[in-house]
Symmetry: C2
Subunit: 491 residues, 2 copies
């Protein structure tokens, strides 16, 4: 399934209308097939001569004009229909035709506009204005529109194949997971906590952190990395800092015990920190920070894991993928949850299985050189998101978790043999009122509302929160469901 | 000074030995001239046919052999001399020659190895081993070495021109800055605090946050954005959270008053937060977190500023460049200080002045499309580092600073007219002992020491800490020095 030149050109050759040479030149010029293609394509066109640019403009269809006679690429036809250009009134059609004739006569190429998001009236309006421009202006404008069209077309190319799933009622799924865990070494309290957290992840559509993780939890219990019967033990409290030893219990159970304590402390002292050592953290981090947000508190959490990530400038894994989470109360809350790596390790594994390449900046091979081969990266090192700045975030996470009991990722061992880390989590809660007085939270929420309305912006956690509102059964991947049913002794 | 094809090929044509076609194809294929070139170049070679790859291998010099007769590119000559290959003993030279003859006879191309970091013994050792390999293995190995050489050569291409500077004794500089500030509206306490913080930045070699900022401070005082005679006012304390209103005083003065309070509170309660509203923050953030680290505390600080940064997916500026800082005690401390933008705004301004292009991902033009033209980005929007993850960090910073009093960057106004923001700072301090007990800090420091020894890794703040140890006068940019002397009434 490795992409080759023919496949790449077949996919992207139509991004610039009737001009596959752009995609061809990009391929030969070393483009990363999984990278950000639009600026590369744009520069290819910008660097070519005036003649080739003119030919590119001339390769475009007459707006509306050719609807009757065909000759559009599939992309153009869909775009023009989307703008309602296939439903012109007679008067509109007549004006389009007249403008077209004047425009082509004056400039020597057809009128080009990125129609997506525009209606017929807006397009006509732009047409009337642009036909009055100078040839130099209009050449630049037309080329800019061509680039905009190309960027939109590229952004629509990314589709992922769906895996087969089966609907399972929530209560049934909860029982199934609980049974699988309890039959394999978890106490009732541990099994319930993990099952509930798993259901939250599945309900949010975060399949990679849902039922998918249960076989790993169980393998880790069998390997002795997780103690299914342990309970978190209070170590000490200094002022607003609580210390617990989770005794290698699963994180969801540890949180059931410790987060209410943290929330109480924070309500009293304005800020509270939970230093939780020795916990098996194998799940998303948003459930703990979102739980704090539900109590009206700002939540922050982070943890280190296993040596997967090379620091910026380095070639060997030293940091973990070091996730951090942050939540602010709201309905829905703002809920950041992100690893410090460019790409999730699970997604790299998936790409390796499917023979796809990954983008530049995802990782290094065992030889320390950049590669887009995911199998090589798994043997080598992942890279932090955003270069040395993401590397600094990974370092901050490493130190906060390390100070809470470690181990530091460079010396962490995978005692579970399934990549399930046992280590420390740093959790902090803040009272919005303590920080900024009565109105502080409302102002933060007003900012978030303004942000939510910015076109193109999706707030962290938004997709999960939309999924969360969907009622009915959960869709579980068939393969995973069968595995968990077997672990529950049902098949 | 815009890079064109000829300049690009002149610069990078020798990265692959005697094979400028790689750089040419990269240019025509839309490479970002300011981006990460190595993986693009590598793919160009990997995607070309076996014949062209063989020709590339054959274009390489015989190791050592050609030293006597010339014919090396400048790059090769320097590399081979660096490995001491120009100082072979007669016996070594004889063995090199013999191995060379066998190798070329067997494989049909010369022995290629990335010599940087190796000595003659290591090279001979590799040579003896590789001459025994199969042709397929050795073709792959040779190509990998060629890529490694290219990556090293590319990484050495980045050099920046030095600006003219004058040595100034530290005490003289302190007095000069203090006088300039005091003559232009600052109280003695404010002038002293700002002058001292400026000297710290200059001493760290962080010129962009040093004397360079003084004219801006003064302009902001004249515009009424900074109040040079204000003093921070205590608002309230809830538990471990202190609230102050800085009354538009300059940040260094506000910290003189508030940070000792925060440190005391943190020593007592394990964690402390300073919510500092209404402060003119126009400096680096590391001085406050490093000051906390000097007290044995972990420090974290962040602030928002003016609408410069588009959220991931958006096209208009909404966030500030939103810096954050983090420090852990040590000698030197770990001291992260970074903006949430891909590139510092000052560096974009510099690139615009010098007519250089910037890398993909730095920003968008006013039309919302990606551009590598810095002048367009200054009119449009900067982008967060690391895509949606960096955008999430910018959002977290925005909310933490916003909760401390804002204003949120999307509605922040530049009352100073010189880009000096007045807003809130969130500062947190943590006691390492409260988090992890007696040994926690020592273990963190041991981790940092291991990290410091990882080849290629430079810890955040390391360059500043090296500069800090240099004794003697500070080197101040002539142009800035003249400006500050004028403001101090000296010229």
């Amino acid at each position: 399934m490795k992409v080759d030149r023919d496949a790449f050109v077949a996919c992207y050759g139509g991004v610039y209308e009737h001009s596959p040479w752009v995609a061809e030149r990009a391929w030969d010029g070393g483009i990363a097939e999984a990278g950000d293609l639009a600026p590369v394509f744009r520069r290819i066109v910008d660097r070519t001569g005036h003649e080739a640019q003119l030919a590119l403009l001339r390769a475009h269809p007459d707006l509306a004009g050719r609807l009757a006679v065909g000759g559009l690429t599939a992309e153009s036809a869909a775009e023009q229909a989307g703008a309602g250009l296939d439903q012109c009134t007679e008067a509109e059609f007549a004006e389009f035709s007249a403008l077209n004739a004047r425009y082509v006569e004056k400039f020597g190429f057809p009128f080009i506009v990125a129609v997506r998001g525009l209606d017929r009236a807006a397009i006509l309006e732009a047409f009337r204005k642009r036909v009055e421009g100078t040839p130099e202006e209009e050449f630049r404008t037309a080329l800019a529109q061509v680039h905009r069209i190309a960027a939109l077309r590229i952004s629509e190319k990314n589709v992922h194949p769906e895996v087969p799933r089966t609907p399972v009622e929530r209560d049934d799924l909860l029982r199934l997971i609980g049974t699988a865990l309890a039959r394999n070494g978890a106490s009732a309290a541990c099994a319930t906590a993990v099952a509930e957290m798993t259901l939250v992840a599945e309900g949010d559509g975060a399949h990679s952190h849902g039922v998918f993780r249960i076989p790993g939890y169980i393998a880790a219990m069998k390997a002795g990395a997780i103690d299914g019967h342990a309970a978190p033990r209070f170590i000490s409290r200094q002022g607003a800092v609580l210390r617990y030893d989770a005794m290698r219990c699963a994180a969801p159970y540890a949180y059931d015990v410790t987060l209410p304590e943290l929330a109480r402390l924070t309500q009293e002292l304005g800020v509270g920190v939970l230093s939780l050592a020795n916990v098996a953290h194998f799940q998303a981090m948003w459930p703990e920070t979102e739980w704090l947000a539900e109590q009206g508190l700002v939540g922050f959490a982070c943890t280190a894991n296993l040596p997967y990530l090379a620091p910026a400038g380095g070639t060997r894994p030293v940091f973990g993928t070091n996730p951090l989470a942050f939540a602010v109360p709201g309905n829905p809350p703002v809920a950041i949850d992100m690893a410090s790596s460019t790409m999730a390790r699970g997604d790299i594994m998936l790409a390796a299985r499917e023979g796809r390449s990954v983008a530049d900046g995802v990782g290094l091979g065992p030889d320390g050189l950049p590669t887009s081969d995911p199998a090589e990266i798994l043997k080598g090192a992942q890279l932090p998101f955003g270069g040395h700045k993401g590397s600094a975030i990974a370092l901050m996470v490493e130190l906060l978790a390390g100070l809470c009991g470690g181990p530091y990722s460079d010396v962490a061992e995978d005692t579970s043999k399934v990549g399930l880390p046992v280590g420390a989590v740093f959790v902090m809660a803040l009272s919005p009122e303590a920080l900024g007085g009565e109105g502080a939270l409302a102002e933060a929420q007003a900012f978030v509302e303004r942000l939510r309305k910015v076109p193109g912006v999706r707030l962290p956690g938004a997709r999960r929160h939309i999924n969360r509102r969907k009622p009915g059964p959960l869709m579980v991947e068939n393969k995973i469901l069968a595995e968990v049913r077997a672990l529950a002794g049902l098949d």
